[in-house]
Symmetry: C2
Subunit: 455 residues, 2 copies
C-alpha cells in the first residue's frame, strides 16, 4: 500500500525500475562509509535494499556541498533508526538483487539510541532469555520474523481446510465458572465480584456447540498455570480446537491428518521466503499418518528397557525412544504418528471408553482416544466424547470431580446431545516441526510463562 512515507517496499525495487525516482522507508540495517561514499542498507518487512549516497562528480559547487552533507548525515545514522529515503533506481550487477538506489535525500523519522539491547543485523545468536526480554527488537531479526510469518500462514492453512468441510469458526467464552479437568492449573480471574477462571481449553463449550452448529472450530488463547519450565510449555498458548457431531475418533483423526498435510503443503508453497531465511524444510507428510496402539507403544517402550507399568502415561524419555524406534522402522510420516486407544484412566472424563484389553499381563479399560505426536512431542490430543449424561457423571466421580459443579454443562445432555468427537492442538507446538524451532516461545509474539509477564 502506498502511503506518504513510501511508494515501494524493498522487495519491489527491481531492475525494471531503472531510472525511476522512488521513495522508500524502513530501518537502518547497516551503514558504511568508504571515502566519499556512504552505503545505507535499508530494511523493511519484505527485505533489504542498498542505497548509495555519493557526491556527483560533474555537479555545481552548491550541489556538491549538499551531497557532502548528505553523505555525512547518512554515515552518522545510528543502526535501527527509522528513515525515509528518496533516490533513483540503478541496475548494479554487484548488488545482492542486481539493483540499488542512488540516494538523493534522507529523512530521519525516528532515531534509535545506541547501543541497542540486541543486535539486529548481526549473525550471532543471543540466548533465548535475552532475545525474549528484548522481543520488540528481536522480532526485527529476519529469522525471528520468519517464524511468526509461518505461524500466520499455518493458521490460514488450518482455517482454509476446515472451511471446505463446512466448519463454523466460533469464539467461545474465555472466562468460565469451572475448569475442564480439575483445578490444578487454573488461572483465577476476579469477575464482577465473582470467582472465575480462564479457560484451559474450549472443551465443554465446543462440545455443547456440536448440538447446534455441529462442525465447529476455534483458534484462540488458552491458559494453564504451567509450573514446568520446558521448551514446550507456555502459561498462555494458542489452541486449535475442532469438534464434530456424528463423528468418532477415527473421523476426527482423518480431519487432523488432513489439517497437518494442508499446513505443511501451504507453508511450503506460500512460505518459501521464510523457510529460506530459516534454512528449514517442513516434514514431508503422506497420508494416512501411521497409527500405533497404546498397547504396541507400551510394548516397544517396555522392550527398550524402560520401567513402566501397564496403563501408565508416557513421559518424554519414553516418547523419545518410541519415536526413534518408529522412525527407524519407517512407521512415521515425516516424524508424525498417532498413538491410539489409550487407557481410560489417563484420559479426561469426557473420553468414551472402548472395552478391555490385556496389556503387560494386566486387564485395562481402553478408550477411543489418540495423541498426535511429532517425534517425542505431543502436538494434538483427541477422542470420541461421551454423549450420555449418566456416563459423564460416572467418569467425573471416578476422577474426583463433583458433577454438581458441572451441572451448568451436564444439564444440556438431557436435551439431545449428538455423538461427537474432536481434538485440540497447540499451534505453537505444531510450529516446532513446521518452522524448525527448538522452543515454542519463538512461535509466540510475547510469551507468557512462570518468568514472563512483560514485555
Amino acid at each position: 500500500m502506498k502511503t506518504k512515507y513510501r511508494e515501494f517496499l524493498a522487495i519491489e525495487i527491481t531492475p525494471e525500475l531503472e531510472g525511476k525516482k522512488v521513495r522508500i522507508a524502513g530501518w537502518v540495517h547497516s551503514v558504511r562509509r568508504v571515502g566519499k561514499i556512504a552505503f545505507l542498507v535499508l530494511r523493511d518487512f519484505t527485505g533489504t535494499i542498498q542505497v548509495t549516497f555519493r557526491v556527483p562528480r560533474d555537479a555545481d559547487d552548491e550541489t556538491k556541498a549538499k551531497f557532502k552533507e548528505l553523505v555525512k548525515k547518512v554515515a552518522s545514522l545510528s543502526p535501527e533508526s527509522v528513515v525515509m529515503v528518496e533516490g533513483v533506481v540503478r541496475k548494479d550487477p554487484r548488488a545482492p538483487r542486481g539493483v540499488e538506489i542512488v540516494g538523493e535525500n534522507v529523512e530521519v523519522l525516528s532515531e534509535a539510541k545506541s547501543p541497542l539491547p540486541l543486535d539486529v543485523a548481526g549473525k550471532v545468536d543471543a540466548h533465548i532469555d535475552t532475545r525474549l526480554a528484548a522481543r520488540p527488537i528481536d522480532l526485527r531479526r529476519p529469522e525471528s520474523q520468519a517464524v511468526l510469518r509461518l505461524v500466520s500462514l499455518a493458521a490460514k492453512a488450518i482455517r482454509s481446510y476446515l472451511y471446505e468441510l463446512n466448519f463454523t469458526e466460533v469464539f467461545t467464552p474465555k472466562i468460565i465458572a469451572s475448569g475442564t479437568e480439575g483445578g490444578a492449573q487454573l488461572v483465577p480471574v476476579f469477575y464482577f465480584g465473582k470467582d472465575a477462571f480462564l479457560a484451559q481449553s474450549p472443551q465443554l463449550y465446543k462440545e455443547l456447540l456440536t448440538s447446534s452448529l455441529e462442525y465447529v472450530f476455534e483458534i484462540a488463547p488458552a491458559w494453564r498455570h504451567e509450573e514446568s519450565d520446558t521448551p514446550y510449555h507456555l502459561a498462555e498458548f494458542i489452541s486449535v480446537d475442532v469438534e464434530m457431531a456424528f463423528a468418532d475418533y477415527n473421523d476426527v483423526m482423518k480431519v487432523l491428518e488432513n489439517v497437518i498435510k494442508r499446513v505443511t503443503d501451504n507453508v511450503r508453497n506460500e512460505g518459501s521466503t521464510w523457510l529460506k531465511i530459516l534454512n528449514h524444510e517442513p516434514p514431508e507428510v503422506t497420508l494416512p499418518i501411521p497409527r500405533i496402539s497404546y498397547k504396541e507403544a507400551w510394548e516397544i517402550i517396555k522392550s527398550e528397557g524402560f520401567d513402566i507399568e501397564p496403563g501408565e502415561d508416557f513421559g518424554t524419555p519414553e516418547l523419545r525412544k518410541l519415536a526413534e524406534v518408529l522412525e527407524k522402522e519407517g512407521k512415521t510420516s515425516g516424524g508424525f504418528f498417532f498413538i491410539v486407544d489409550w487407557p481410560a484412566d489417563v484420559r479426561p472424563f469426557y473420553t468414551k471408553r472402548k472395552g478391555k484389553e490385556i496389556i503387560g499381563g494386566r486387564e485395562l479399560d481402553l478408550s477411543e482416544s489418540f495423541d498426535l505426536n511429532w517425534r517425542h512431542l505431543e502436538i494434538s490430543s483427541g477422542s470420541t466424547r461421551i454423549h450420555r449424561r449418566e456416563e459423564l457423571e460416572k467418569e467425573m466421580s471416578l476422577r474426583g470431580l463433583n458433577p454438581e459443579s458441572f451441572e451448568w454443562y451436564l444439564k444440556w445432555y438431557d436435551y439431545g446431545m449428538p455423538p461427537h468427537a474432536g481434538w485440540g492442538m497447540g499451534l505453537q507446538r505444531l510450529m516446532v516441526p513446521i518452522a524448525g524451532i527448538p522452543n515454542v516461545r519463538l512461535a509466540t509474539t510475547f510469551p507468557r510463562d512462570m518468568k514472563r509477564l512483560v514485555p
Copy 2:
C-alpha cells in the same frame, strides 16, 4: 463428511437421489401421526428433511407388524431427540424441497427430555434472557444459528482482505501487566502470585509489532469490566485489530472501509442461506464511506437543539440524531459514516495531535483520529499513533497515567519506532448491521456480561 452415523446431510437429499437408500442423522424437529402414517421432520445444521413412515400395503404380515411398531416408535419420539434414520429417497412434489425419505428404520442416539427449556421448532420468539439462559438449545433455532454462521463468514472475509495486503496475523498476550487506558474497567487475574490484568485491547502490543512485522492484525477476545447493561456492551468481546507501520489515519481508514465492503459483499455472496433465514440484507456499501469532521458533527448536533459543549464526546442520543440527519442528506454509505479529527482530550494517550481549530467559539486541540459508525453505533475507532517517546509521556501525564508503569512499553520507542496507525473494531457490533440483530449478545456463542458467567 461421511461417518458411520450418516452418509448424507439434509441439504444433500435431492430429487436426483430418487430410489436410493440413504442414512441420515439429526434432531427430531417435529413429529406428527396421521392415522397409520408418522411424519418425522429431521433437522441437521444444513436444514430439514421429511421422513415418512407407513405400513406398506402389499407386504407380508411380519413386515406389516414391523412397520406398525416403527410408526408407533417414531410417533412417540420426543422433540430434539437425536436419531439416525435409514430410508429410500422419493420424489414428492408436495414436500418442501420436492423430496422426502420413505423411512425404513430409526435408531435413537440420544433421547431428549420433555418439556424443553426452550421451543426450537416454534416461531414464537422468547425473551433474550430466556434464550441466553438456554443458549445450547437456543442455538438450534435456525435463526440463532444463522447469525453465528454469518459471524464466521465475516471473520473469514476480514482475514481474506488483510492477507491480500500482506498483513501478518498475530496472537498477542492476553495477560498483561498494565492497562492500556487506565484502570477503570480492568479485569484482574492472579498470575503466578503476581497481580495482572486481562487485555482490554492488544493496543500496545500491536503497536510494538509495527516495528518488525509492520502490517499486523488480530481477531481475538478482549475484556472490559463493563458496568453498563446495554444491547451493545459485553464484558468479553471479539476485537478485530489492525495496525500498520508507515501509515497515518487516512491510510488505515481506507483499509477499514475496504474491510467493511469485503464483509458485506462476501456475506451477501456466501451467506445467502443464512440471510434468507434471517430475512435480512446487509447494507449496500459503496466506497469511499463518507467522512464528516467532529466539528461538522458537533455543529449538526448543536443545531438540532442538544446542550453540548465544544470538545465533548457524543452520547447515544446525539449520535442517533446525527445519523438521522446524515442519512436524510445521503451522507452515509448504507448507514456507515466516519467522524474524523476528534478533540485530543477525549481520545486515548497514544493518539497523534493535529493542530488547533475553533469549534463553537472555543479553540480545541484536535487529533488524527476517527470513529466508524453505523447509524448511532460506534463500530470501530482508530487514529494515527504517536511514535515519539517524549510525546507519549506528555500525553500520559495529561491523562493522569504514570509513564513509569508503562516503562516496559515506552522504552522500545528509544530504538526506532516507525510512524504508524491503526484501528480496533468490535466484531459483534459489526454484526448488528450485517446480520440485522438488535443485540450484540446474539452474535456471541455464550455471552459474558455483568449478569452472565454461565452457560
